[in-house]
Amino acid sequence: MANKRIDQPTGTETVGHEWDGIEELNTPLPRWWLWTFYLTIIFAIGYVIAYPAWPMIDRATAGMLGWSSRGALAQEMTAADRAQQSFREQLAAIDVVKLRDNPELMQRAVAGGAAAFKVNCSQCHGSGAAGSQTLGYPNLNDDDWLWGGDLAAIHYSIDRGIRQPDDNEERQSVMPSFDGAFDSAQLDAVTQHVLSLSGNADASAAGAQIYGDNCAACHGPAGQGDRAQGAPRLNDQIWLRGGTAADIKRQILNPRMGAMPAWGERLDPVTVKMLTAYVYSLGGGEEAQAEISDSAEPQPEAEAGNDGQP
């Protein structure tokens, strides 16, 4: 340290070392920087004590505060659940058919249902609930309902599912296969009659005869369908499995029928109600009992009461 001196061109003191004529200027770090650096060290010590820090063999040290990212997530989720508590309680208490009388609750239920729909339903019905004609998943936006489109009917369908083996009789039906029952001309005739019901073909007397004998029991004499057994309307413009003659023939010979899981077994009742509200809100929702005109509809109000607790 004996060789400390002031370097003339810069006016800075040297540190006093010399290597082969090379000296080093002593330009210490700014004090604020140094103090910040010391503070970060102190902070780091505190942090290591308080939070998980040192990696061990299968986990890191826990830290005095017991904080963990999973714990923090769980806390936030609980807080979010708690924030929704009163809404969920209200929704659990209300009868689903009365949901429309409470617009605010309905609105929140629709919003919650939209989220639940994306998770549980969009795989088949599509994220916009437009269904799929090729795969036979119904469009939920339109005004054509196989099993009824009022709140109670929608709720029942979601809750118990469609054509579930262990379910009661409500959402059960089978269309028999007519493979071999008709010859080619008869098949053409009945297909023409079915198309004529919606005005898409000329009438066929022979077809009407066959239709009356074989189909009218379920699909109705005028093709108006029967929601009690999920028999589709044939006199409208919506064809779940295609509206060409070939599509209809295929369906007569080898009928395909949709099935849906009973969501009441997988989701909590509140979520099912929210889904009901959402599907109802897509634009096709019907007034209770209003338009179930020509077919006998035994279920709407009566069972709505015991829907709440599946």
């Binding site: 003339q8 469009n139 005004d143 309307r233």
Partner: protein, 526 residues
Amino acid sequence: MGNPDTPDDAKRDWAVTVEDGIAKSNEPVSSAVADPAATTRRHEPHEPPRETLPEKLYEARKSIHNKRIDGPFRRFKWFVMLVTLGIYYVTPWLRWERGPYAPDQAVLVDLANRRFYMFGIEIWPHEFYFVAGLLIMAGIGLFVITSAVGRAWCGYACPQTVWTDLFQHIDRFVDGDRNARIRLENAPWTWGKVFRRGFKWSIYLAIGFVTGGAWILYFADAPTLFRDFFALEAAPVAYATVAILTLTTVTLGGFMREQVCIYMCPWPRIQTAMMDEKSLMVTYKDWRGEPRGSVKKAAKNPGQFGDCIDCTQCVQVCPTGIDIREGPQIGCITCALCIDACDKVMKDIGRPRGLIDYATLEDCEREAAGEAPKPAWRYLLRPRTMVYFTIWAGIGAALLFALGVRTHTEMTVAPDRNPPFMLMSDGSIRNSFTLKIRNMESRPRDMEIALEGLEGGVMWTDAIGRDEAAATQTVTVAADQVRTIRAYVMAPHDAKSQDFAFTVTSLDEQRESDHVETRFDAPETP
């Protein structure tokens, strides 16, 4: 740069001169080329001459104890201080009747509900350009002021100036005038001094608290917040804001003062660029004042001395502690207190006033040459100020126009993309839209939504059932709210994809309306 006052340039001449007398290039050459022996020569340690050490770049603050002065400019400063502080403290308490659906505070920045109220004007977030316009006007307003009357903003109206002035009055009130304050500052820390300082600083704190306290009243209903604040029921952000503003007020106004103007504020630098030889500024008329000499000396040697008697009153009253006689400088905020001081002295010794006065550089030259100065209004009305003023007034007029023609009814339309359309059982085609209707009046209003240019189209909404489908629907939008509506638009089965429009009309005497073009999607028919 690190060594600005090197006494002798030759010492700093890094160019090496070759000593053989042939080539005396002054270009910098590598010392190894110029003097090969130098690279191997040992460097002998020696102490450098003292004067070549770099000077300190940091200058400690010199405390300023400005003397009390009275005069027209001081009175004007009092007046401006009264008005500005009055506006600041009183405004939140003004009431303005807006009916049952809106707050009754005249000026309110309602961050929670995203509304800005200013007397009869209500601004929504999407109209923030009004606020931007006001800020631009404030900026250009500073240009106008600066080019016309120099740093008048700095000298009178700037909050830093106003609060510094206030704190300096507190100093004077507690510790006495300049000489007493200097004495006290140099005195040792006795109990008396501790008590005095403590007393003064608590007044500082109180002023800071009131300043921060008034600020938060602009953001909530003032009487409610006032009560809640002292009942310890206000939001934490209110307390934090008050704490921060108390701290900044005390620090900036109580302790940093002129340092803010000289070192922190960008505005003096910008102003310096905007001032020209025709801008008014506070000037010491050196051609009249120099050489300085006392009244006695001047009496003994008539004609030898100027008017300045070197009494340094101008320096003593200066709130930023400068000597105006050194010429225009960045520390001068043109508060004109030195004019008051000098005028008073000139009056006492019977010389004409205005040795220090507002003057333009051009006037100074003219006056120094013995000509008559131009009247002040000639400087105000010149192209530069006119251009600034025209721009300023133009923006103001445009804002007023926009405010006058803005409608309080607006709508946005978002068509559903998934699915873009769907068939109904009778073959009709349905599209869904999300409408947002804005009612910017502070009363609920009925609005009529209509389809325009969609042949045979009908619509219903999430609240109005399909059985009431029609080409127009009436909805009620709550006061000061946006209502979101799901609209289902249905057209007959033969409808093609086409453009159409929604219109919304308010069903009151104003009949305000909005018109939004959108598209109806239909399946492609083969």
